[in-house]
Symmetry: D2
Subunit: 99 residues, 4 copies
């Protein structure tokens, strides 16, 4: 089952600057070979359900290992059986209709 | 790794009444033996990370099998390494301080 | 326009224990006269759109005033024009079908 | 108070293709003069809290007026008092550290 995810990992108890934890999560996604795209309030990921959620778990493990005692993460996850749709397809469908 | 999750599964393309899909997800969580509690905008679940996310995947599979061609799900997931905390602990800590 | 909201306010840069900020938000909602119900991963609120979102803004203002330099909040917001539905109706519709 | 928001409006009861509703929301944001950027699972917006949330309410009103009887929306909202930060700053801080 393919999934498109929006992921926002928030480490708590480590101060206000969380950029290095976000960067670590990017590396985890990169190492997993998952197509992903950072935006201003999270990271979009597409891939096989199990691979994507294994990578999200690994993000939690890495961020805890970096010293964050608590993490709260928000995830949006979309699946569909009617047709294939990539992250780029979703953006294109909006941009095309705006023209 | 233990996790507390807030899960909100939204089937699309099946009309406005989605109660029966929510009920099906409750059954999936029940069958998984996971402690869970429905509220007005989702369901809280606590348990081992892998068991919880396996159940969430199964919710998507069941809701698609019931005929929903598209699903968008919102998940909040909290983990901590500093101490054990249950769903009831979280509620109690707020209620106690309000007194 | 009536709305049902799930609100989860996360103060950052104040350590791992955020209970007192959650309690402050409960007081804000109480003072606003809004029907609300805390759960293990947020608080559900129902009421007029403007009143609910004015209260959410006030939560941010109060939590900043308590010393949190950064806040990230997750909100789910549901509206419908087909019929009236309360938070309790939503829970009842699931519980009834489970029997 | 300035806010950065991630907005994902999901119309229910209108079938699986929701692109035209997303486009309508883009127009609402455009008309409000708000800086915004669509991504694969939502739209990021930055601006004054009141202006941003007034626009989000207008999105719900427009999408209902287009015929959607029910809407469920997910919002992430970030505020900070320690320093100014734009959407582009947030992306840059991650990209720079990845190099």
């Amino acid at each position: 089952m393919k999934v498109i995810v929006d992921l926002c990992v928030v480490p708590m108890g480590v101060g206000v600057s969380v950029g290095k934890y976000v960067v670590e999560c990017q590396k985890v996604l990169q190492a997993a070979g998952l197509n992903h795209q950072v935006h201003a309030y999270g990271t979009n990921i597409e891939g096989d359900w199990d691979e994507v959620f294994t990578a999200i778990k690994r993000c939690h493990e890495h961020v805890h290992a970096m010293g964050a005692p608590r993490i709260t993460t928000t995830i949006k996850a979309g699946t569909r059986t009617d047709r294939e749709q990539s992250m780029q397809d979703k953006i294109d469908s909006v941009v095309k209709q705006e023209l």
